[in-house]
Symmetry: C2
Subunit: 377 residues, 2 copies
């Protein structure tokens, strides 16, 4: 175990301090204009300027600190200029704490060819400059360089997309003007070790206060994800926070933190909630199951969320069967709180220097035996 | 203006005190095993053991005191015996304050012929004894005699339904066993003055701690509703609380209170909310309207609800356009709070003896000129 305490002021309005390390896992504090993020941190996703079915009060009550919103969706509806004119994204959705926006690149490429993206069917041409301009109108604390995420199984395309992502990262850095926003470059390169190493070195060479790792959790195997993190992260500067985009499951968080990731986001907890699934110590439970019809226990007896402190499994199952929307709200509160509690628990072991002794237990609880490859890192 | 202070203990666990009267309008307190209701009171409807899209916390924060739930729906799903075994309806849905259940009669007659009512398509035979047994399993503080609501335009059927309702009311009184539940008889008779007078006298003769007026807001005109109340209420004992079922709009509340009604319930505020409509001082607004896209005001600048204290009209419109469920939650909070505030404001004028001087103003704000018939009562 190694503990180091140091801090580097990267941009005048941002600061990242690493308070403790256990092998590659780290606990830190990332200061932003809207408050401090204690890392590792898991960010709920509020795609359309709302974490689906939840109020900001709910998010505060589960101790959420960072919320992600999607640039492409907000650009289409209600429009980034409207949000700017209404005082910016924090004020518009009444989230006073740190926020992050993605670049829109993922949605431009994944959605624009497969669906009609606005009423007149027009397409929207995104450029690095346009993505940054939109993100500056939105006003999140952490913003992303415009990038292209490739199919991990297509090596030739991964190379083209990576090169494009690098050129766009430079243009994004040059386009950025607001001092109160931290721009993160994004490492791409599919699952090819050489491309990933090249991308990590290139993105690390840019003057950005943080670095994102994109293009994972998009169809590759868990082993490919872990191998990619094992290649990329050692090439990144220690003093910049690392954000693993769109990840993940509880076991992905454990494995990511063990490899040195500081920031995560994922729609999974809220999406599962709307499909009746709950994170519990017994595993992921489908709460529509008749087994729960007279179950007077909370979802998780050790959980401190409003749902678990208030309602039985029987009631939640009734709401699901009766197609009541409150089911999605209550399960979203719980699933998000479960991940936020897990990350907080992990952080406390990093602070105590005992992280590695807990990893097998967490993986057994959250990921099962299939995930027990951590010892190899 | 007349002020009277008296109290009658009807059942050992219930008490109704009238604190102030202005002509026929009255302010009172109805004590139940789960707490006091200050009357007049408006009850949100939680059909399936949940006020749609809201948590009990939301309901407490808007100062809701009485919540209604529907016997027929709960009998079908999740079942009244399940709710009994889980500790009763209050505990099941975690509403610690007074509750009311209807008899199921309305749904038996309105729904059973037009839809398949459970998975095997079987029909469910309700009787007064069965309705009371189900309501005793549910355990609400206020329960209803089994009744039949008739088409107001069918005189012959109204007579048959009324006679049946009277026989069923007697059987309901005889079937009831729990001392911690107040059974209300229900006045029927369509819109025929003679039937309504006969029904009022019959129901008033029964030994029940409260009286409901059913069969209104089901297709009759406003004038017919008011005339019916003008016939029925003077025939009811002063010392029993009066509950006008399934009513209503803000103007219906004002007109009902003026005629001596103490308790109301209606799905309107939450149903309108889910259809994007907001009660405001400017009238009922469709918040999907593009007019609101950059409107930085709250729904109602004078409202103290979470929605109005937190969000702009522009944000609510965005949620609606983006099909985000939070829109229904935020509008439900506001619409319910608007009616609860209106009733509280009305009560304070009854206490101050100034009710009648405010009626025209309220009706002008809430109901428009068409409703200004109050002076004729």
């Amino acid at each position: 175990m190694e503990i180091s305490e140091f801090s580097l002021t990267i941009y005048p309005m941002f600061d990242f301090s690493i308070t403790a390390k256990n092998n590659r896992a780290r606990a830190g504090v990332f200061s932003t204009p809207h408050g401090e993020l204690v890392t590792p941190v898991f960010a709920p996703v509020g795609t359309q300027a709302t974490v689906k079915t939840l109020t900001p009060e709910h998010l505060k009550n589960i101790n959420a600190s960072l919320v992600l919103s999607n640039t492409y969706h907000l650009y289409l509806r209600p429009g980034d200029e409207l949000i700017r004119d209404m005082g910016g994204l924090h004020k518009f959705m009444q989230w006073p704490n740190p926020m992050l926006t993605d670049s829109g690149g993922y949605q431009v490429f994944s959605l624009s060819d497969t669906r009609k993206i606005d009423d007149d069917g027009s397409t929207h041409r995104f450029t690095p400059e346009k993505s940054i301009s939109i993100q500056e109108n939105l006003g999140a604390d952490i913003i992303m360089a415009f990038d292209e995420c490739s199919d991990p199984n297509d090596l030739a395309y991964s190379k083209i997309a990576m090169d494009r992502t690098h050129r766009w990262a430079e243009r994004s850095v040059n386009a950025k003007t607001r001092p109160d926003q931290a721009l993160f470059g994004i490492v791409q390169g599919g699952v090819n070790p050489d491309l990933r190493a090249e991308s990590a070195q290139f993105i690390a060479s840019l003057d950005t206060p943080g670095i994102a790792i994109g293009g994972l959790s998009v169809g590759e195997t868990k082993e490919e994800m872990h191998n990619t993190l094992d290649i990329v992260i050692p090439l990144l500067p220690e003093i910049k926070p690392r954000y693993l985009m769109g990840v993940g499951t509880p076991e992905d968080l454990i494995n990511g933190i063990a490899r040195g990731v500081d920031i995560f986001d994922c729609v999974l907890p809220t999406r599962l909630a709307r499909h009746h699934s709950a994170f519990t110590p017994e595993g992921r439970l489908n709460m529509m199951n008749a087994t729960f019809s007279r179950d007077s226990r909370p979802l998780d007896e050790d959980c401190d969320c409003y749902t678990c402190l208030t309602f039985t499994r029987a009631y939640i199952r009734h709401l699901i069967v009766a197609k009541e929307l409150l089911a999605g709200t209550l399960l979203s509160i719980h699933n998000l709180r479960a991940l936020i509690r897990l990350v907080a628990e992990i952080r406390s072991t990093i602070m105590a220097g005992t992280f590695e002794s807990h990893v097998d237990g967490w993986l057994a609880q959250w990921g099962g035996n299939a995930e027990r490859k951590l010892k190899n890192i």
